[in-house]
Symmetry: C2
Subunit: 343 residues, 2 copies
DNA sequence: TTGTAGGCGTTATCAA
DNA sequence: TTGATAACGCCTACAA
C-alpha cells in the first residue's frame, strides 16, 4: 500500500494541492465547505502529512529540543516534566532527544537543529568539556542546564544554569563535620573524571580543610567505572569494598543519592546501621531520598526552579534574538534526614 | 548566516552535488582524493546534512522507533537500555519517542512512521484500548510490549509481549495468603481504570477466593487519581489514608513497587513497622526494591528478556515481511523480600 | 570518475 | 476562493 500523499488527497477531492494544504493548516482563503469535504476525505484515507517534507519546506518551526545524556537518570525526570509543561504553555513543540553515552551532544544538536528547524535547545546533564569553538557552531539559542563545569570550562560566553557543585558539597561535608565527624569517607569517581565527580570531591576537600581535618587518601573510595558509576549498584559495591577494608570512619559522603542508597543497603547487609554506625550524606535530592528508611541527608537541587530559569533564559534569547551569557547558579538546599547523626 | 547545503559544498569544491553526496555516504565511484578534499571542506564549514531532506528522499531507513508513554517511569529504564543495545547491534538506528500523557500513541506512530521511514515500531507501556481498526492503520511491523490488556482488548491479531498481570498478582496475593494473612488490603486504581490496575485487582480477588477469604471492599484503597496514581507519593498518601481509617489488616498488596515504597514510609512515619505490623507486597521488580530497607516482596517482570523477545518478534516480522500474531506471555518471578512475614 | 536533472511531499507565491 | 508551480535539501539514475 503506497503512502497516501497530499497529491492523492487533492486528486480524490478534485482540487489542487494548495487547497488541501490550506485545509490541513487552517489557513484562510478556503471555503468552509470544501475544507470540510477535504478533511473528511483525509480522515477516510488515514492521510498524515509527512513531517520531513514539512520541516524541509518550513523555514522555522516553534519547537524546542531538550537533549539529555543519560535519560534513565531519575534526577532528570522532574526537570523534563517541568520543561514539557512550560514549553507546551508557550505553544511550542517539545522534543525530547536522547543522546547516547558515546555520542557527542553537539553533533546531535547540529543535526536536529537542521532537521527540525529548532528555535532553541536545552542541553541537560552530561559533562561538558567542549570547546567554545565547537559550541559556537550551534546557530540557535541554547542553554546549558545542570551541567557540571570546572572553572577551566566555565563557558562565560554561554548561558547556563546549575548549582555550584563544589560549594554545595562543601556545605554538606561541612555539615557532617559540624556533627562531630572527623573520619569522613567519600565515594567518588576516578581522579580523571572531569565533571561533577571532580567538583564534589573538591568541595569535600575544602570542607575538611576548613574544619582542620587532614585529607586521608584511605578514606577515598573509587566508584565502579563506566556509565553506571553513579548508580545504586555502584554505591553498594563500593560500600562493601569499604567495609571489607576495615578502614575506620564514622561518616560517608556519597557524591550522588543513588550511591548513598546502595551504600546504605550494603551497610545494612553487613549488620551495621545507618546512622548509628555510619552517617551517610548524599547529593541531588532525589524524590526517593525522602521515602527511603532512613531518609537521607542530602543537598537538594531545586530542579523545578532550575528548569524554569533555563527556559526563561532560552525564551529571552529567542525573543530578543540576542546571545545571553548569564551563568545562573542556584543554591542547593541542605536537607537534613535520618541518615546522619552527631557523635 | 545561511544554512550551508550540499550545493554550497559542491560549489566550494568545484564539483557536482552528486560527488559530494558520494563522499558523505561512503558511496563508491569517487576517487579517494576528491573525497578527502570534500570531507575537509565539509568539516571547515560545519556542514551537516539535513535529515528531513534525507528522510524525504529515502524510501526506507534502517530505523526502529520505541514509543513510550510515561517515560519517567523507572520500570522502563532497563528495557530501554536493552532495546538500544540490541537495535544498535543490528546496525539499526534507535529512536526513542516520548508520547504525551494526553496524546494518542497511534497518531504519534503514524506521524513518525512517515517522517522517519521507519522499519518497525515498539509500543512500550501505556494502556492500550485501541480498536483493531485503528492499530491496523499502522503500515510497518510493530509489537506491543508490556502493555496491560484485559481479555476484551487482547489483540490476538497483533504481536505482543507482556506478563499476565492477573495471574502474577494472583500469585503474589496467594503467597500472602500462604503466610497466613487473612486481612489483605489492596492499593489499587479507581474502578474505571481499564488497565493493569484492573487486571491486578482481578488477580487479587481470585487469590482471595482460592484461599476462602471474603472480598471486603473496606480493604480496597483507591490511589490518588491522575497520571501520578502509580507513584511513590500516591502510595504514601494512600497508606496514610488507610492508617487513619483504622481498618484492620495485616498485609497490603500495592499494585506497583513505587506505591509499596511510599506505603512503607507512611507506615514507618506512623510508628508502625514493616513487616512486623504490616506485610507489604509490590509488583514490577524495580531495581530499587532490592536496596530498600526492608527489601520488597514483589513480582519481578523479566524486563530484559521481554525486551529481547519484543525485538526478536519485530525483526522477524521485518525480515519475513509477514504479520505475526504471537502473544508472548512471560512468567513473573516471585521475589521474596523482607517486607513480608508469616503470621 | 564525475555532473545533470528529476523527484521525494510539503508550503507559499502568484495568477486566475 | 482556487490552482499551478517553484522552492526546500538531498539522493540517484542516467549521461558524459
Amino acid at each position: 500500500m503506497k503512502n497516501v500523499t497530499i497529491k492523492d488527497i487533492a486528486k480524490m477531492c478534485g482540487v489542487g494541492v494548495s487547497t488541501v494544504s490550506r485545509a490541513i493548516n487552517d489557513n484562510p482563503g478556503i471555503s468552509a465547505e470544501t475544507k470540510e469535504h477535504i478533511l473528511d476525505v483525509i480522515r477516510e484515507n488515514n492521510y498524515v502529512p509527512n513531517n520531513s517534507a514539512r520541516n524541509l519546506k518550513r523555514s522555522e518551526t516553534e519547537t524546542i529540543a531538550v537533549l539529555v545524556k543519560g535519560i534513565g537518570n531519575s534526577f532528570f525526570s522532574p526537570m523534563i516534566t517541568e520543561f514539557e509543561k512550560i514549553i507546551q504553555e508557550k505553544k511550542y513543540t517539545f522534543v525530547l532527544q536522547r543522546v547516547d553515552e558515546n555520542q557527542d551532544e553537539i553533533d546531535v544538536a547540529m543535526e536536529i537543529e537542521k532537521e527540525k528547524r529548532l528555535k532553541g535547545i536545552v542541553f541537560l546533564g552530561g559533562y561538558f568539556s567542549h570547546s567554545k569553538e565547537k559550541l559556537g557552531k550551534i546557530t540557535v539559542p541554547f542553554v546549558l542546564s545542570t551541567i557540571g563545569m570546572t572553572d577551566s570550562m566555565v563557558h562565560r560566553e554561554f548561558a547556563s544554569v546549575a548549582v555550584d557543585d563544589e560549594k554545595e558539597s562543601f556545605k554538606i561535608v561541612d555539615y557532617l563535620c559540624s556533627l562531630g565527624h572527623k573520619k569522613i569517607a567519600i565515594f567518588a569517581a576516578s581522579p580523571d573524571d572531569e565533571s561533577i565527580g571532580k567538583l564534589r570531591m573538591r568541595g569535600y576537600k575544602k570542607a575538611l580543610i576548613k574544619n582542620g581535618i587532614e585529607y586521608d587518601e584511605n578514606l577515598v573510595f573509587e566508584l565502579t567505572s563506566g556509565n553506571e558509576r553513579y548508580s545504586i549498584k555502584s554505591g553498594y559495591i563500593t560500600a562493601k569494598k569499604m567495609l571489607k577494608s576495615n578502614v575506620e570512619c564514622t561518616a560517608i559522603f556519597a557524591i550522588t543519592d543513588a550511591i548513598a542508597i546502595g551504600a546504605c543497603r550494603a551497610i545494612w547487609d553487613e549488620n551495621k546501621k545507618v546512622p548509628e554506625d555510619y552517617s551517610i550524606a548524599g547529593f541531588d535530592g532525589l524524590e526517593m531520598t525522602k521515602y527511603y528508611i532512613p531518609s537521607f541527608t542530602t543537598i537538594r537541587q531545586p530542579v523545578e526552579k532550575m528548569a524554569r530559569e533555563t527556559l526563561r533564559m532560552l525564551f529571552q534569547m529567542i525573543d530578543s534574538k540576542k546571545r545571553l551569557n548569564e551563568n545562573v547558579i542556584f543554591p542547593g538546599e541542605l536537607i537534613i534526614g535520618e541518615s546522619t547523626r552527631g557523635i
